[in-house]
């Protein structure tokens, strides 16, 4: 990267697509990726490797940070031959899913493939995620109980 500001500038967008790819179900990502015919050859810089990450949380979202527990995670890094470097980080132990994420990340940084990946992968996965969220929010909404206190007229 000749422009030192470039990684910083790309960061929010890249962070968003890496999050979307990591949250998507592995089979949905794989299915979306098969729609792209000319997937580029690549070289592993770090082959998928499984490990544990310590998940930390704050009670109530604002309390002191504590260790919630360990979760298995997989990471990898690859380089499209003659192109950019992509990284994949995902919960679980699915090396294939992790590789798919890294390949998408690299292709999204490569002008030759970025549009195709946006159209074939990011958009469908994004709308699937919104459907999942809406469906879950709807389920929650049906069972929601609104607590309220009647104003007592005794004053």
């Amino acid at each position: 990267m000749t422009d030192p500001a470039a990684p910083e500038r790309d960061l929010p967008e890249r962070r968003a697509w890496l999050g979307l790819l990591a949250r998507a179900p592995a089979h949905a990502l794989r299915a979306a990726l098969t729609h792209i015919d000319d997937r580029p050859p690549f070289t592993w810089l770090r082959q998928p490797e499984c490990g544990l990450v310590m998940v930390q949380a704050r009670s109530g979202g604002s309390g002191a940070r504590f260790n919630l527990g360990e979760a298995s995670a997989t990471r990898c890094v690859l380089r499209i031959d003659g192109g950019p470097v992509g990284v994949g980080h995902v919960l679980g132990t699915d090396a294939g899913q992790c590789g798919d994420i890294a390949l998408c990340d690299a292709m999204l940084q490569d002008p030759r493939y970025a549009d195709a990946v946006r159209e074939q992968v990011l958009e469908p996965l994004g709308s699937q995620e919104q459907e999942r969220r809406a469906e879950r929010a709807g389920r929650m909404e049906r069972s929601r109980v609104d607590f309220f206190t009647l104003v007592r007229g005794d004053d």
Partner: protein, 208 residues
């Protein structure tokens, strides 16, 4: 820790687990039989500044718990990022705090008292020097004696000088404290642990 520029980092071991095991086995052999040259057969492309044997040794032994010191001439972004990415080793500013000291030739050996020679209670907590030499051969003016060597073994290391012999003698004299040397030459390496007595002789028939 500064960000790693992945654009200049190349791949590490092709088969990380088995390649590291093979190199570890080779290093054990080299350490157990000082002066014996072992050749690493690996499809590894080291970053500019490191030889294959140096790179493989670091990939096998260095991790986040082993600070590494690089001699100034090889302390380049290529080497530093490669080590940071593949080994996650912290780099230190002086050889004293380093578990591994990486040198591009024997002329750059630091003075012995600037190296970490270990603690009398834990002599193993000392530096290991990973030094590139121009040539390595199992016959030459260096005569090695000590544990792991039946009688004597001879060695030729390109760039070895009388200063190096003095360094090795002082290092051996401090046993059990001292540093261990791994001499690397392209894809070959030989170890000279601190137990090794090294004398420089001229003729090939010096066995008395």
């Amino acid at each position: 820790m500064p960000a790693i520029d992945l654009d200049r980092v190349g791949p590490g071991f092709a088969d990380p687990v088995h390649d590291a095991q093979r190199v570890f086995r080779s290093l054990l052999t080299a350490m157990a039989e000082p002066g014996r040259i072992v050749t690493l057969d690996l499809p590894l492309v080291p970053p500019p500044g490191l030889s294959l044997a140096q790179c493989a040794t670091l990939l096998t032994l260095a991790d986040r718990d082993t600070p590494v010191w690089l001699a100034p001439s090889i302390d380049t972004p290529d080497v530093a990022d490669f080590l940071a990415f593949h080994c996650a080793s912290p780099r230190v500013g002086s050889p004293l705090g380093a578990r591994f000291v990486v040198l591009p030739d024997l002329a750059q050996l630091p003075a012995l008292d600037t190296l970490d020679l270990g603690d009398p209670a834990y002599p193993d907590r000392s530096s290991t020097l990973i030094v590139e030499v121009t040539e390595l051969a199992e016959d030459g003016p260096l005569e090695l004696q000590g544990p792991g060597i039946p009688d004597r073994r001879r060695l030729y290391a390109g760039g070895w000088s009388t200063a190096t012999t003095r360094f090795a003698a002082a290092n051996h004299a401090g046993f059990p404290l001292g540093v261990d040397l791994v001499l690397c030459c392209a894809d070959a390496l030989a170890a000279l642990p601190r137990t090794c007595r090294i004398t420089e002789s001229t003729g090939a028939s010096s066995c008395t």
